[in-house]
Symmetry: C2
Subunit: 489 residues, 2 copies
């Protein structure tokens, strides 16, 4: 054999890869998290090298990584579906609740050949889509069609699929709230489109004003941008607000008038913590206005990762697709089919969260206790953290009405801003980095989500277990005081 | 509320969606499968309306949909990981084998907080990547680094990720075998690149000639195409050939010389049916030639969907990424992180297939019996179908050395070609449609995979259970005879 020639430089470099990939940013798993992982490794390798003994991850909506326990009924059904060979064994009766066995048997009966290890229909198993459609109907009081459901590996691939479909070039714009969940900016960048921002109004509790939408739409048009769709996240991420029904009606009306596809991110539909607010799906709102299939193109994204279940690792979710012509739906189906199907456990779980145990079921009482325990605890944590933020010098924080986040605003002293500049960081990234190095607490800087120019924020999840919250509050308060003293103008 | 205005046409039409999406085709789930689903529904609704009583799906590598049973050990581990709350229950000991409990406990110990419901590291759980890297080392006899492993929801998203990274515009080309698995053409189309074909030589058992690669590379260059990468599928899909090590060495040399990324689709690595052939990973081949990290950029794709396990519905897989500079690997990591992580059950399963039970383990004997039963049966089915195809008038079929497919060539009479033209179908699509309507057997026309111009083929999986094979052979033989008589020139 000829000896290897001398060529040794890598053929692929940052200069010759896709510029779309280069441009894409994803703060939730960005620089600050990489630093956190480094500190974590150092703590493990050499305990005592940092002024804290654990990393407190408040950067990502990942409840079970912080000790939230899964809902027992859901896991029983999943385990049984994974290993249905145990159906006739007497031990099974002792290990699983009666209704979980019944439910698993029903689900297995809906899967052709009971084959949980087979690719399914590219939209997902029909029987599971029937269950999900029935759950949507029960939630909304309006019909839902199982053929409108596309089961996906979490909500993210569904969002990518729609961006892939809608974006033709950088002249196609997608309306996104600012602040936004960076999946949207990342996906728009990856598919080569333009993010058209609309700003949520922090002063009115992150309100969504139609006048702002109109202003930004005109501005985009004047730049030659054709706006194709509007993303709404309700309850809001990172802002935690829950839209009023009146506000939702105006958004529906606006999208209809302007011919925009309404992309409704409704993954936090179970996460509402204040009695004065209630979740309404955009489809329910549109239908209650008398708008049907032909009046508005509307997508709803749902995920098994959020809610009280928080099953992030299962990668389950769906999108409900309404108001598209048949020939476009065929294109959506085709894109879905290129990845064959979403994972079957995630599909099963999506059907379970849309149809949990009912009154009279064997698991009902324990299911309710688990669900309500998690939701009421999340509400308490949101309240405690919100109050703590509002006590910090220069920090203001809107109420977390829903979702899993607080997005406090911080007024940083000029000296801190200059120090950040010197460190080549955005001021809020600088603050978050100092906080992490001093306390082990991980927040994501507001610049990762977008914010009104000249304002600074960070996102903090409400997910650490309740026994950790006092320590977070104490460490944060102490750090903040020192930081403000150090950088006092 | 204002009454809805009259505007009722859908804002999204095939004319204003992404042309990349429009162009993309995916034959494996295309027209023929939609027809099969329609016939299936008709059979269910009105039995007796067709000259067959079941659809025989030979269109897709989906073993468990056709009755293949999952490997018990794998499912035991998955079920236990889904519902670890049963760890201390006495019933658990009766239901699960000893080593499956030990393995599940080990895996749970590798997951931070034992949280199978949490998002993991975006490359996958570190402990599972350690196991996979050890499995690769044991297979190849060369080191593997867990930091090179990216766990993915099956192999398809890994392929998309690399196409997304490498393709900048339609001037970027990706070398693909013809015939090819249509995931590649679909993914290249979705990312706006150009498929640069190289033809496998049917006459030499689907051989891969370097002279053909050189010729096609020159042709592409002369059109202004910059070829970035070369896809090799080994064992081959749809062709079923297993490359010789000598041939692999030449391919490695060619990629190295030309600065091409070698994308090695090795998902059928366990599916080799002839004693004279053996699977060698491209990494092993490259390392045995003395080529290291800096000499060649090499990816290996693996999946839990194939092999003897056939766990398609679990959507597990990985890519091993070697020979990339750190700054490019960061970009790959970023793209992976936008979807957070792949599903944890799929991750666990990927670690299991790369580290199955060993001699002395409680499950070892039953595991071997299950594995060998499936593989020897697949070999018998491949042989029976190959012989049946070669007996048909005008049909020739290479040996299925590996993978799950046969790709016979069919000489169609002019009269059939004209009838296909009249029906606006490719001749092989016409043949497959007539076959489906007459017998319920689903083959995918060769035009979905690409073929030398003027030749016609179809792909048939070897996956129907053995008791179905005689019926398939009989129905096919009878149909073929009638078809050839009807369209005799």
């Amino acid at each position: 054999m000829a000896s290897p020639p001398s060529k040794s430089s890598f053929p692929v470099t940052p200069e010759n890869i896709s510029q779309k990939v280069l441009k894409c940013e994803y703060a939730v798993r960005g620089e600050i998290v990489i630093l956190a992982q480094k500190l974590q490794e150092e703590l493990t390798a050499k305990p005592g090298t940092h002024p804290f003994d654990e990393i407190l991850y408040c950067n990502i909506g990942n409840p079970q990584s912080l000790g939230q326990q899964p809902i027992t009924f859901f896991r029983e059904v999943l385990a049984f579906c994974d290993h249905p060979a145990i159906v006739d064994r007497s031990e099974t009766q002792g290990l699983f609740s009666k209704d979980s066995i019944e439910r698993a048997q029903k689900i297995l009966g809906q899967i052709p050949g009971r084959a949980t290890g087979a690719y399914s229909h590219s939209q997902g198993i029909k029987g599971l889509r029937d269950t999900i459609a029935a759950g949507i109907e029960a939630r909304d009081g309006f019909p839902a069609d199982p053929n409108d459901i596309f089961l996906t590996d979490g909500a993210s691939p569904a969002v990518h699929m729609m961006m892939q479909l809608l974006i033709r070039s950088e002249n196609d714009g997608i309306f996104c709230p600012i602040p936004q969940y960076p999946l949207y900016s990342a996906s728009i960048a990856l598919h080569g489109g333009t993010l058209v921002p609309y700003y949520l109004d922090e002063a009115t509790g992150w309100g969504l004003e139609i006048s702002e939408l109109k202003k930004q739409l005109e501005a985009a048009k004047s730049k030659g941008i054709s706006v194709r769709a509007l993303v709404v996240i309700n309850p809001g991420n990172p802002t935690g607000q829950v839209l009023s029904e009146e506000n939702q009606r105006k958004i529906v009306e606006f999208c209809k008038e302007e011919g925009l596809v309404l992309l409704a991110d409704e993954v936090y539909q179970e996460n509402v913590y204040v009695p004065e607010k209630k979740f309404h799906s955009f489809k329910k709102v549109a239908r209650s206005m008398g708008y049907g299939e032909k009046d508005i193109s509307l997508l709803s994204f749902q995920s098994v990762s959020k809610g009280y279940y928080g099953e992030c690792g299962k990668r389950g979710g769906y999108m409900e697709v309404t108001g598209f012509a048949g020939d476009v739906r065929e294109q959506i189906y085709k894109v879905a089919s290129v990845n064959l199907c979403s994972n079957i456990s995630g599909q099963i779980l999506a059907s379970l969260v849309m149809n949990p145990p009912k009154v009279g079921d064997d698991s009902y009482d324990s299911y309710c206790a688990e669900r309500d325990g998690i939701l009421s605890s999340l509400a308490r944590r949101a309240k405690t953290l919100e109050e703590a933020f509002n006590k910090l010098d220069g920090v203001t924080c809107n109420k977390a009405e829903g979702a899993m986040y607080l997005f406090p605003r911080i007024e940083l002293p000029q000296k801190a801003i200059k120090a950040a500049e010197a460190a080549k960081k955005a001021p809020d990234a600088f603050y978050c980095q100092c906080l992490l190095n001093a306390t082990g607490i991980v927040f994501v800087p507001g610049s990762g989500f977008g914010q009104v120019s000249g304002t600074w924020h960070f996102r903090c999840t409400i997910l650490p277990q309740e026994d950790k919250i006092p320590a977070i509050v104490n460490r944060l308060t102490e750090f903040h005081q020192k930081f403000m003293e150090e950088f006092h103008d």
